[in-house]
């Protein structure tokens, strides 16, 4: 058996169509999930930081706890919703990339909400009186606080991306690991390992790690640049 690194480079250099399809689908699912989770989670987290209502404490606790939601359980919940007899069964989304995106949104939304709340709460404590003095009400303060917290918020978004790109349970349960349709890097690794096809599994693992490293390096660089540039 040739070494896994050689296998990985061989597949990449040949631009193996099956591999490219798997990488493409993984990125599409995870990045779409991150985007949707941010669109919901950033304003929701900021609202949770600024709003005062009965039951706020329990809501915060639930979101914090959900950060540790096992991916398989997230997958199961989405599976039950999308299965033929479930409330969203008519949409026929089970075993499609869209179902995988939904499952990953469920998985990372709590991370984005909780970290946003924490970041925005800290900035709000510093900014509150000044923003009020300048004429910004609570609602108007939300975009200001999100923008001024952008460097710290990037960490939360990255954590969400990391969790989504690394998990296998949720996409496996709702996607079904169908070759050419819902097979991602993590589900492919699981399958190839079970088949004893370790070379390919390790090759996929190396590619996944490299992607994650590259993205984190880019985000870290952007954060450093912004800190130096914006104070």
């Amino acid at each position: 058996m040739e070494g896994p690194f050689a296998t990985a480079f061989g597949l990449l250099l040949a631009a193996d169509p099956v591999l490219m399809q798997i990488i493409g689908l993984s990125l599409r699912v995870t990045l779409t999930a991150v985007l949707i989770a941010c669109l919901i989670g950033l304003p929701l987290g900021a609202a949770l930081a600024l709003a005062r209502f009965p039951g706020r404490g329990p809501v915060i606790i639930v979101f914090n706890a959900l950060m540790g939601l096992p991916p398989v359980v997230a997958g199961l919940i989405v599976y039950l919703m999308l299965s033929r007899t479930g409330p969203l069964g008519d949409l026929g989304l089970l075993f499609t990339p869209e179902a995988m995106i939904l499952a990953q949104v469920v998985l990372i939304l709590p991370i984005v909400v909780s970290l946003t709340r924490s970041v925005v709460e800290d900035i709000w404590a510093e900014y509150r009186e000044q923003l009020q003095s300048l004429g910004a009400g609570r609602l108007r303060a939300v975009p200001t606080l999100l923008w001024d917290g952008r460097v710290s918020l990037l960490t939360g978004v990255l954590a969400g991306f990391g969790r989504a790109s690394a998990e296998v349970g949720a996409v496996l349960v709702v996607g079904g690991n169908i070759a050419g349709h819902t097979r991602t890097m993590t589900t492919a690794i699981t399958l190839e390992t079970n088949r004893g096809n370790l070379g390919l599994a390790v090759a996929l693992g190396i590619i996944l790690l490299t992607l994650t490293l590259t993205l984190n390096a880019a985000a870290w660089g952007a954060g450093q640049w912004a800190r130096g540039r914006l104070g």
Binding site: Y127, E129, S133, L134, G135, D148, L230, G231
Partner: protein, 250 residues
């Protein structure tokens, strides 16, 4: 504000003034502990009022109450235009928060909140930068300015809001002497434009340089007020005499 008004100084011939501001028996307590009690005071238009007192006397609290940052737990405020919190007033806090964006964007922010048109805002920002010699640093991030420059920007941002009265909380407490002089010159120029100044300080030299009227706070009470010359020449209370002499009055 129309574009035509941008070239003018702070003249409001046709707008009813929000001053004088009258405080009647204003107090602020946390639980049963009074931090400020029974303050009755009038802020007259066009004057420079310096609020004096030791640390913890309630100076900042009094300013934040006047500005409307917090509500008093007793007593009342009467603005001359009858509104509860007029727009034509601004405050520079002891530690002003500059937004994590450029100098120009910091000046623009409150103008956008007030719904000024894009062209009016651009004109006002340009005029403010020019007026305070900040043009060269317009595109620099505000948080990376020096302490003196940050304070200049905070005052410029407040000025751009075209206040009739400007509340300044220890505007130079963290600055070196040359930066302090620049800030004091800015305050004097505001005053010359007709902006009413209410300022706290524990710097007696600054109080003597800037004050036209004095309000002296001691342990949350206003125990002496009047024209600055009379106050510095002959304070009526033993506490004020001790404060001016630099003695401990606790």
């Amino acid at each position: 504000m129309g574009a035509g008004a941008v070239g003018m100084t702070h003249v409001r011939a046709f707008v009813p003034s929000i001053l004088p501001l009258r405080l009647e028996g204003v107090g602020y307590a946390v639980g049963v502990k009074p931090l400020l009690s029974d303050v009755s005071l009038t802020v007259e238009p066009g004057r420079r009022l310096v609020v004096l007192g030791a640390n913890g006397a309630g100076k900042s609290l009094l300013l934040r109450l006047c500005h409307g940052s917090i509500a008093p737990t007793s007593g009342r405020f009467f603005w001359a235009d009858g509104s509860p919190r007029p727009e034509a007033q601004a405050m520079v806090f002891q530690r002003p928060v500059l937004l994590r964006r450029t100098v120009a964007a910091n000046i623009d922010y409150p103008l956008a909140l007030r719904g000024l048109s894009r062209s009016d805002r651009r004109a006002m920002v340009a005029r403010t930068l020019d007026r305070f010699g900040l043009g060269a640093m317009a595109e620099r991030p505000a948080r990376l300015l020096s302490g003196g420059e940050q304070q200049r920007l905070a005052l410029a941002r407040a000025w751009a809001m075209r206040p009739e009265v400007l509340f300044l909380d220890e505007p130079t407490s963290a600055l070196d002497p040359s930066a302090t002089r620049i800030i004091e010159e800015m305050i004097e120029s505001f005053s010359a434009e007709g902006i009413t100044i209410v300022l706290t300080t524990h710097n007696l030299g600054q109080a003597r340089r800037l004050a036209e009227d004095v309000a002296f706070l001691h342990r949350g009470r206003l125990i002496e007020q009047g024209p600055a010359a009379a106050f510095f020449a002959g304070p009526k209370t033993t506490e004020a005499r001790a404060f001016l002499a630099g003695d401990l009055i606790w």
